[in-house]
Structures are given as C-alpha cells and as structure tokens.
C-alpha cells in the first residue's frame, strides 16, 4: 500500500515520462463502462471502504465483472491518481457468497465485451490493444512513434510461400514500437495479469482506459493456441533488451514467466515488441485490420506505421509531421461531474480534516469561497469530517445537491490533446496518398458484413475511366492534388467544451472529391481519443450528429434521416479525459446532447467551407468549359473570316483570343462576386442558428 502511494506521489511530481513510470501500475477492479460513461461512478450502494475489503478484492473483482451483476455492483471511484482503490461492502459480501471463478472462465464468458467474439474480430482487437498501447506509451514518453504491425499466416513457410489459410487458422500478430520500453519487473504483470494497467485511475485523455487491454489479448492467444505471449523490451541504450514468454495462470490471474532472456543484439535502442500467436480469420478479418491501420495512421499524423501482411507488399504510412501532439494532462474531477456514490467514496478516502478541505483538494475549480458556497447551499457544517459523509448517504446527498446548486467555473480544458485542424489536414493528405496507391486487400470476398462502411478505396481504381475533364485547372484554394486526383480538404477543431464536468473537444475534417464515388453515401470515419471506431456505426452518437446535420445546405444530397450522399470522407474525432461509450466494447459514442451538438457545430463549419468550395468549383468548371467552347469556335470563325477577307488566320485568332481572355475574366470576376454574396447569405443563415443554440 505504502509503495503504491509513494509511486503515485512520484507521478504527481511529473516524472519525465520514462520507464520508471511503470512503477505506478496498480491493480484495478473492473469498471462497468456504462457506469463510467454516465459520469464518474454510479453510487447506488452504501459504501464501506475498508482495508479488509481491499485485501479480499481479487476474488470479488472477478465476480464483479460478470455483466449480469454489473448494474448492482459498486464501481471504482474517479481516477484521481493520489487515491488507491478500495473495495466496497456489497462486493465483499458477494465475494463471500461466491466461489472463485477462474479468469479463463471469466474471459470466455465476456469475450464479446472485450472484442474477441469471433476469430476475425479477435485479430483486430489483438492488434488494436497492442498498437494503442504503443502509441500511448510513445506519446507519454515524448517519442515520435514508429510502429510495425505484422500479421503472419502460420500456414505459409518461412519465406512466406504457400497457400493462405482460408477461414480460421493460426496466425502470429507482432507489434513493435520505439517507445520507452517497459521495466523488466513490470513486464509479467502487464502481460500476464488481467485488469492491470496505469490508465484506469486517472482522468486523462488516453487510448487505453480500462486496463483490460493487452493481457486480454494474451489470454485469448493462450486459450486458443496454448502459446504464451512473447514480449521483448528495452528501456534505453545502456540497458539490455529482455525477452519474455509469459503465461497466465488462469486460476489465480497471475503471470507465469515461461522464459526470460537477455537479448544481446536487439537493434532498437528502446522500445517494445509483442508477439502473440492466436486463432484468427485473416481472410474475413483483414478488411477491419486494414481499416484500423489506415485510420490509425490518419488520426496519428505524427506516427510512422509499417504494415506487413501475408503475401502482400509492405505498406508504410509515413508520418505527416514531426511535431508530437500536445501532452494530455491529468486533471482532478470536476464537482459537477461527480455522482453520489463516487462522492461518498471520495469522501471516505479523503485525508482532509473537514469537508471544506476535502472539496478543495479532491476537486478541480473549488477554491475556499466556492467550497464555502457549496456548504452553504447544502446546509452542511464546515467542520464535518469527510469520513462521516462517506458513511451517511443522506448527508452525502445533501452535499451532492448543494454542489449542483452552486455555480462553479467549468473545468480547465487545456488538458486535452486534439489532433488540430492543420495536422488533421496533413493526416488526411498522407492517408489518401497511401490508400490510393496501394489499396489494401485484393481478394476480398465481402462475407463479413459487420459494417456497411467497410468499402474499399482500392475498388475505385477499377472503375471505368471518366471522360477527360475540360482543360486542367489549377487546384482551387483548399484543394490538394493527391495521386492524380484533386481533393478539397477542410478541417475544424472546436474549442473544448464540458459535459458532466468532463472536458471534451470535437474535431471534424472532410476530404471531398478525388476518387470517392459521387453516388454513394459518404464515408464516415469515427475516432475517439485518436482510436478508430470501426463497428456499430448506426448506434454511434457521431453518426446521429452527422445525420441530423442538414447537408443539403452544403450542396450534398441527403436522403431523409440518413448520412449525406456524395464523393466525401468525413472524419469525426472526439478527445476527452473520459469518452462516454455506449458499451464496454468501446465501439460507439454515447448520445450526450452536449457532445452531439458540438459535433454538429463542427460539421456545419466544415460544411460551410465545403459549400463555398463546391460553388466556386462549379463556376470554375463552367468557365473552363465555356472558355474551351469559345476556343473551338474561334478556330472556326477565324478560318471563315480568313477565307472571306484574306486576312491572316493566326492574326484573327490572336485578336479573338485576346478578347476572350478579357471577356471571360470580367465575367469571372462578376460571377465570383455574385457567388461570394450568395455564399455569404447562405453562411449567415445557419450561423445565426448556431449562435442561438450555443
């Protein structure tokens, strides 16, 4: 306990992100995501947090993860780093009444919640857990990530020759990063113990949130192939690389180190390599992996991603910037986001002498006067001991009401790390450059129809060549030429906002035109904390926001209650210290009105840019066409007049062309003016609406 506290304290002092940080790893209890989503923690239960409870926590924790029990079960308090988890009485009671469940049993029962429902999805989840960890680690350490993702089909020989596995089979997934590495002592627990991580107990924007992550993938591999996970890691130049093979003791949920060797000639100065042998289905699962990899490259323009697949050329997404994203900061919870149960837990844990001190230290934006106001509004005495609050539900409820009745400054929002509009743009450009040329899968059979959005850009290459466009125009403003196609790219990063005391920030980007099909529903790319969301598009709050936006204002067609139709990919990203998902699978954003509204505002802003562009472009196309018609006619007229008068044909042509330029330019200027006026009118209208809503 003391060691943990010390470690926590150390972290508070802002240790430069290094491997030592791993010391702060702590055991966590499983959280119920809906509960987390609903605020910080549900508080349905009377809580008596005691050391005894903590000691017995392990068994209870496993039981608690049963989904059926979820609603009734207490959940961890908000993730302030300086607090340690306690078990709650109800959990304790339940633990007494239950036999110990093996972790493998738990895993098997909950595999759908964890993303291992079937061999295709398991492949994606395994890769995703490893890659998310690599990116998080690099970012925390301030390293520009270079990540290699490899999928090996074990049916092929060492040189990659042979028949690809059709359907289920054995595969090896390898993810290697140049991150800070993991200290030797921590490796077994991270990879050989479920529910063990560093990101759970804090309020900070990160990819991993639940500490289920990578060890679940290891578990899956072990259950399906019997093979241990292999981890190689090195923390720095002077230190040796260590290679481990770790098995999970599924009865005790503890790691068993199968082998541990120093590895002399590891080329990386620092970094981690994870290898898992799993049962997977590459043929149907690859499209999701491809999409995940592409989209990860898109939302992480600072990362270089190499992607190696069986029997295919290596694919590399080079980084689009050398700038690391702004560091995401850890924050204390905001009082308006705390729910009753969590408040009680926090109070029980508090080391402050009185409520006033508790409020000031446990929460952000609570100064002495604010704390005073809260107490006044709750009718609670300043001198009250926090512990009493933690034990008296009625008292706590009074305080909770008082908090909600008090005006408190919104939490600081500088803790977030958005992609940023400029980098989003660059991300889109390099994303389009790669997927365009080397479309991912060649022989997709389209069997796995989990997500209708899984269309493949590669197909577009095969379509009939379009009729030659009128004379080449230089790209319009905001237009990018990528692999012979022109895309209009617009991006918007909204200012940070708050829902339930949690800061969040929305970004929207779009790539219009190019080789996207004009008669299909747009592609919607969803991201939460830079992680692509690939499933449950229909259930996602982002989809709702885009569907609710009237894209006809922005010159796209849109069937009622649907996504718009047009040659466009739309990227939506939410960054938050706590992203509310609809379920543990973290596949769809919950429908919070504040968040939906922000997404809509960002989409509208992007839409306005798009409308201006489309209108300009249409005009420009028209002008070009028109000019070319004139040029053709000039040829004819000059010929006729030359024959009639005997004057030089070229001289006549030259004179005509000179007038042509002048005339069309004057026309253009006049039309531009008209256009700008029209677009301003259109822009003004929705904007007014937006402001009202804001």
């Amino acid at each position: 306990m003391a060691a943990i506290k010390k470690a926590a304290a150390k972290r508070k002092v802002k240790v430069p992100a290094k491997a030592e940080r791993q010391l702060s790893l702590i055991e966590v209890a499983p959280a119920s995501a809906p509960a987390r989503a609903a605020g910080v923690a549900p508080g349905k239960v009377t809580v008596k947090a005691t050391a005894k409870a903590l000691a017995k926590a392990k068994a209870a924790r496993v039981a608690a993860a049963e989904p059926e029990a979820e609603l009734e079960l207490p959940v961890e308090p908000p993730a302030a780093a300086e607090r340690t988890p306690r078990r709650r009485a109800t959990a304790e009671q339940m633990a007494k009444g239950q036999r110990e469940i093996s972790i493998s049993e738990f895993f098997t029962k909950n595999r759908h919640l964890l993303g291992f429902d079937n061999p295709s999805k398991a492949l994606l989840t395994t890769i995703k857990e490893a890659v998310d960890n690599s990116l998080d680690a690099c970012e925390e350490a301030g390293i520009l990530p270079e990540i290699t993702i490899e999928v090996r089909d074990l049916a092929l020989d060492v040189r990659g020759q042979g028949e690809l596995t059709k359907g289920e089979g054995r595969f090896v997934v390898i993810v290697e990063d140049n991150g800070p590495g993991i200290v030797k002592g921590q490796v077994p627990k991270i990879f050989g113990k479920l529910l063990y991580g560093s990101k759970f107990h804090r309020l900070k924007q990160a990819r991993g949130q639940q500490g289920i992550g990578i060890s679940a993938a290891a578990m899956y591999g072990q259950l399906t192939t019997g093979r241990p996970i292999r981890v190689t890691s090195r923390t720095g130049k002077g230190k040796p690389a260590h290679a481990f093979e770790i098995q999970i003791d599924t009865r005790k949920n503890d790691p068993t180190v199968v082998s541990d060797q120093e590895q002399k000639d590891w080329p990386q100065e620092h970094g981690t390599r994870v290898e898992l042998e799993i049962v997977a289905d590459w043929r149907t699962g690859q499209r999701f992996v491809n999409r995940y990899v592409e989209h990860t490259a898109l939302s992480n323009p600072h990362a270089t991603v190499h992607y190696l697949r069986p029997k295919q050329e290596r694919l590399t997404f080079p980084r689009a910037t050398d700038e690391l994203p702004r560091e995401a900061l850890e924050i204390k919870p905001h009082p308006h986001g705390v729910e009753l149960g969590a408040l009680m837990l926090m109070a029980a844990e508090s080391r402050s002498h009185d409520v006033k001190g508790f409020l000031q230290t446990a929460f952000s934006r609570v100064s002495a006067p604010v704390a005073g106001a809260i107490l006044k509004n709750s009718g609670i005495k300043e001198r009250l001991r926090p512990r009493e609050l933690g034990e008296d539900r009625a008292l706590a409820e009074k305080l909770h009401k008082g908090i909600l009745a008090t005006r408190i400054m919104a939490p600081s929002t500088n803790c977030l790390s958005p992609i940023g509009d400029e980098l989003m743009k660059r991300g889109l450009v390099s994303f389009l450059s790669v997927i365009e040329t080397e479309g991912p899968e060649a022989e997709d059979d389209g069997q796995l129809d989990l997500d209708s959005a899984a269309k493949k850009p590669v197909r577009r290459k095969g379509k009939a060549p379009e009729p030659a466009p009128p004379p080449e125009l230089p790209p319009e403003e905001g237009e990018e030429r990528i692999k012979g196609h022109k895309y209009f790219i617009a991006t918007v990063t909204r200012p940070p906002k708050v829902y339930r005391g949690n800061p969040f920030q929305v970004e929207v980007g779009l790539a219009f035109g190019g080789s996207w099909p004009a008669d299909k529903t747009i592609e919607l790319f969803r991201f939460a904390n830079r992680v692509p969301l690939l499933f449950q598009r229909g259930a996602c709050g982002m989809t709702e926001a885009i569907v609710k936006t009237d894209w006809r204002n922005y010159l796209l067609s849109q069937p009622k209650g649907s996504l718009p139709v047009g040659p466009m990919a739309l990227l939506v990203h939410i960054a938050s210290v706590w992203v509310p998902f609809t379920s543990e699978a973290k596949e769809a954003l919950a429908h919070y009105p504040e968040i939906i509204r922000e997404i809509q505002l960002a989409a509208q802003e992007c839409g306005r840019k798009l409308a201006t562009f489309i209108r300009k472009k249409k005009q420009a196309d028209y002008q070009a066409q028109r000019r070319s018609i004139f040029e053709l006619y000039i040829e004819e007229v000059a010929g006729s007049i030359h024959r009639i008068t005997g004057n030089s044909r070229d001289a006549i042509k030259r004179d005509f062309l000179r007038v042509a330029e002048q005339v069309t330019e004057a026309d253009l200027a006049a039309e531009d003016k008209k256009l700008d006026e029209a677009s301003e009118k259109l822009t003004r209208r929705p904007r007014r609406r937006d402001e009202e809503a804001e």
Partner: protein, 366 residues
C-alpha cells in the same frame, strides 16, 4: 472569273461583314452581327402599300456570349460558303449548303450544324443582315409548284410554251428572276393560284385555263418563294389580277394572306413577293350554305385550328369587317372544308359551276 454587278455587290457585302468583325476584335470589343428581328413584334402592316414590312428593330448576335457564340460561328460558315458560291458562279440548294458547311468541330463530337433546321434560319438571318436576297447568295429552297396557261416564257434560254405542258405543267424553279426567266406572248386574263396540287390537276384536266383564258399555278400548300415571285411578276409585268383558291381552314387563310401581303418570316421580301390586290375566291366559310355542302364532308376543327383562327382575328390585315365575319363564322361553326369537298356536287363542279359563278358574281374577298 468575271463577276456581274449584282454578284460583285453581294461579295462586297459579305466582305464588309467579316471586316467589321476583325475591326471589333482588334479594338478588343466583343464582335457581333446585327440582324433585323424577324418576328411579329418587328413587322408592321403598311396599309398604303398593303404589305407586311420589317420594322427597324435589330438584334446583336455577339460571339462572346454562351447562348450566341455558336450561331455567330455558323453565320460566318454560311457567309464563307455563299461567297464561294457567288464567286464561282454556282447555285445550290439550302440543303446542299447545310452539307457544305457541316463538319465536326476540333476533336469534339460536336458538329457545326446538327440539322438542316439549324442552318436554314441562319441563311435567313444572313439575307436580312446583308440585305441580300437568297438568290443573290446563289441559294434556292426546295422546288415545288407547277404552272400552265396561255403564255410563252423563256427559262435559262429555252423557250417554253405553257399551253403545251401536258398533265404535269411547267415546274416553277426556285429562282425566277429576270436573268433566268423572261415572260413572252400571252392571252391570259387573270392568274389563279390554287393551294393544292390535286385540285390544280382537276383544273388542268378540265382545260379550265383554256376556256377561261387564265394562268393556273399551284405551290403544294404554302407556295415557295419561286411560285410567289412568279405570281408577283406575272401580276406586275402582265398587269393581270390574281385570284387565290384555298381550303376553308385557318391554314388556307394564311396562305392567302402570305400571297397578299407577305409573311412575317420573309417580311423583308414582301415588296418582291406580295400581291396586295390578290383576291380570295374561296373556299369561304359561307360557301357551305351557299353551295349546299352536306355536313358529312365537313371536318371538325381541333383546338389548334380554333386558336390559330382566333389569332388571325387580331392581324391588322384581317381587320376588315368582311374578313372578321369570315373568320368568326369559321370559329362559330367549328368546322372546316377542303376544296375537294366540292366534288360532292360533281367531279367538275368546282371548274364548271363553283368558280365561274364566283367570278361572275364577284363573290370574293380582298
């Protein structure tokens, strides 16, 4: 090749049109062709002369205008072709001209002209803007129309006796100007213009022209320019009155009115083609009673006919009371009659009784 005076003048007009364009573009101006407007709004009825005349409104056809550019180009393709025709002393049909000027533009799939319907109006535009006749541009329209009668003419140097033309008659050429056709000896008392070929054949077979000493001529419906010009010359040079025999329907009235005072479309040629003193001898809306035509030979007017008739009531050249009655009677009764309806009274009723009686009783409209 040496050009005659008329041809020289025509070539000069075409050249000046082209030069005006060169001057415009040199001066960095949008070049245009000025074309008198050929629509009802820009024609007026000259009461004194009794003809429809073109007003002074013109329209500028600019090159640098998306809607006009193609027509501008076509105007010069036609000009170029006409100049070549005139200079080489050849004459061709307007259909031929369409083929001469039609070609694909650049490497597109667009043609200079898609259909003859596109090139015909361009020719008319050019005629009015150059103030040159179609004949002066060495163009002729499709030929139709035949003529017989007690008259001798010379056509392109050949002497032709129109008393000996058999059943078909002399085919009236498109160009009947003095340099092509000259009029000779005759014994005719008047000219009868008949709308239809079939009815004309009855008159020819019955030797009506011999008996009545008249020239009979038909234009196969709306008479082409050659026929109209021929009637006008016969009228003017031989000082013969002109009678017009047409169906009793709005179209028939229209043919008469075109013969009498010119068409809207060719108003610029009215002076050369119109015979303001031409008389309408039938079929009148009142003939059905006068000549006891049974109702079963009547044809019901359709909506288009009625609308057309109503429109005619407003034409200044039908303002006369008797004409108003004539047209109103047609609208009122709602029926129309073809000339052939008279055959109900006997196959030669029209040549032996109807027309002689009409002329005798001076039962006509002017």
């Amino acid at each position: 090749m040496r050009l005659d005076a008329v041809s020289k003048k025509t070539v000069g007009k075409i050249e000046r049109l082209a030069e005006s364009v060169i001057k415009s573009v040199k001066g960095r101006k949008n070049p245009f062709v000025e074309i008198p407007i050929r629509s009802l709004a820009n024609v007026h009825f000259d009461k004194k002369k009794g003809v429809v005349q073109l007003g002074s409104q013109t329209q500028k056809r600019y090159f640098f205008n998306v809607a006009m550019a193609k027509k501008f180009m076509q105007t010069f393709l036609v000009s170029d072709a006409c100049k070549e025709l005139v200079e080489s002393g050849k004459t061709t049909s307007i259909r031929d001209l369409y083929y001469i000027t039609k070609h694909t533009i650049g490497d597109t799939r667009q043609n200079t002209f898609e259909e003859q319907d596109e090139s015909d109006p361009i020719i008319e535009d050019l005629e009015v803007s150059l103030d040159a006749l179609r004949e002066e541009l060495h163009l002729f329209a499709s030929r139709k129309g035949s003529m017989v009668g007690p008259v001798t003419i010379r056509d392109s140097g050949d002497t032709i006796d129109l008393r000996r033309m058999g059943s078909g008659g002399w085919a009236v050429p498109s160009i009947v100007e003095e340099n092509v056709v000259q009029l000779g000896k005759h014994e005719a008392r008047y000219i009868l213009l008949i709308e239809k070929d079939a009815v004309w054949s009855r008159f020819n077979e019955d030797k009506f022209w011999k008996r009545e000493k008249c020239i009979i001529i038909q234009g196969g419906g709306q008479p082409p320019r050659g026929v109209r010009r021929m009637v006008q010359r016969l009228h003017a040079e031989l000082r013969l009155p002109v009678y017009v025999l047409v169906d009793n329907d709005p179209w028939g009235f229209y043919i008469y009115s075109v013969m009498k005072q010119g068409s809207i479309n060719l108003a610029y040629e009215s002076m050369r083609m119109a015979v303001p003193s031409a008389r309408f001898v039938g079929l009148s809306s009142f003939d059905k009673d006068k000549y006891e035509l049974p109702m079963n030979v009547a044809i019901k007017m359709d909506d288009g006919d009625v609308a057309r008739a109503r429109q005619m009531l407003a034409y200044p050249w039908f303002a006369d009371k008797r004409w108003q009655r004539e047209i109103q009677e047609m609208v009122r009764s709602g029926v129309k009659f073809e000339l052939e309806a008279l055959s109900r009274r006997g196959i030669s009723f029209i040549t032996e009784e109807y027309l002689p009686k009409k002329l005798r009783e001076k039962d006509w409209l002017e």
